[in-house]
Amino acid sequence: MSNWDWQVFCRDTVTGDQVAGCFATGRDQTYLQWMLQAWGMTVTVSLSALLVALIVGSIIGVLRTLPDSPKLVAFGNAWVEFFRNIPLLVQIFIWNYVVPDVIPMTANLPPMVLIILGLGFFTSARVAEQLRSGIQALPRGQRYAGMALGLTTPQYYRFVLLPMAYRIIMPPLTSESMNIFKNSAVAFAVSIPELTQFYLQAGEETGKQIEIYLGVLAAYVLTAMIVNRVMVFIEGRLRVPGMVAAGGMGGH
């Protein structure tokens, strides 16, 4: 292990020649450029999936707390159980191979979109669970107060419950946002050109697996740190003094 070869990142991906300055021009590409591209893919997939997860998870989370709608509550609960009890990798395979066959609407979607939906729906179950516990952590009187003011159900969710619930579930949402970046690594299994896939391919091509591996790992850790800083900043701005949701522990 003594002979590191970090110059591998400056090699041209086609010819294998060293490129001065590490950035090739024109249509050529160095491994460093390829890695940055893969990093971009990881970030794109993760952020898009996070958006899907927040939207779908919010809807499901609200459904699960509706009063007088046992059917919608049951649907929300079933959704969470379904997406929580199947491993992400299996879900990704199903999105990639089975869903386009079974649901005609998705037949022409590119794999990347399918994976974003897969990762997003998987995470939506977890967001829904946190939002539910956030809403239920609020004193019941808040809901009743909204009702007593004559607000409709959408209105008191919009103006009374949700503004508080989102603010108190920021800490678990922080860890969920970090999780989604880590979980995006499973996309390698269906050949999405993201960081893990880059490691497998570039490591194989160059034979310098350890250097490539450490580079990719550093990218992941750096991403996790940046996401954490951003979320902590948002958390700090939104924090409600004295109110913290019981955050879920564990999970990856």
């Binding site: 893990t196 350890i210 790992l217 850790v221 996790a224 990856h252």
Partner: protein, 222 residues
């Protein structure tokens, strides 16, 4: 487009290809839980020791592990361990080491919360009785910490069971791989993935149902 049909997966096919994988998945879950809880507890004690030279390495290890994707850790161990011990190891064995090392970080966070949930007075009471730190931990703090955290530990075990499917990355023969192999032999890979989803769903739902019941039981006693 191949028609999706689960009926081709008869018991004969399942036991021929997938049963071995299912056993491996369960075995990996069990050994990673036991090993993870053991080393996780040690890490938690290091972090709560109040000694900087114990706390810092444990914190770096735990936070480092927690900021890496599990797939990368699995690939990393598979890549590095042969360099460290000087001979190649099988994917199955590599996965076992990886999962113990990785899960220890997650279990240590749970155990840290568990130990902190025991009031300091109990530790002081133990000291007043003349107990050493080791006795105090073994007889007073840890039994209660385990008990308080049992539902969380078991929930983590369910997550761990799901995560064992990620050994796919290094080609270890687990439940998913077994079903996929069966599917490839029958020309029914898509059905195999669906069947995998069904089996994982049944096992995980059952386990989380049991954990919920246990949680209720424990919550009443406390």
């Amino acid at each position: 487009m191949e028609p999706v049909q689960l009926s081709v997966f008869s018991w004969e096919v399942f036991s021929a290809f997938a049963l071995k994988g299912l056993y491996y998945s369960l075995f990996l879950t069990l050994i990673a839980t036991l090993g993870g809880v053991f080393f996780g507890t040690l890490l938690a004690m290091m972090r709560l020791s109040g000694l900087k030279w114990l706390d810092m390495p444990a914190a770096i290890y735990v936070n480092g592990m927690r900021s890496m994707p599990l797939v990368m850790v699995i690939l990393g161990f598979f890549l590095m361990v042969p360099y460290l011990i000087g001979r190649p190891i099988g994917a199955e064995f590599s996965a076992i080491i990886t999962f113990i090392a990785f899960e220890a970080a997650y279990f240590s966070e749970i155990m840290r919360a568990g130990i902190q949930s025991i009031s300091r007075g109990q530790m002081f009471a133990g000291q007043a009785l003349g107990m050493t730190y080791a006795q105090n931990m073994k007889l007073v703090v840890l039994p209660q910490a385990f008990r308080n955290m049992l539902p969380v530990l078991l929930t983590q075990t369910i997550i761990l069971f799901q995560d064992t499917s990620l050994v796919y990355a290094i080609g270890a023969y687990d439940l998913l791989k077994g079903l996929e192999t069966a599917g490839k032999n029958l020309g029914q890979v898509k059905s195999a993935y669906l069947l995998a989803a069904v089996i994982y769903f049944i096992i995980c739902s059952l386990l989380s149902f049991l954990v919920k019941r246990l949680h209720k039981k424990i919550a009443i006693i406390r």
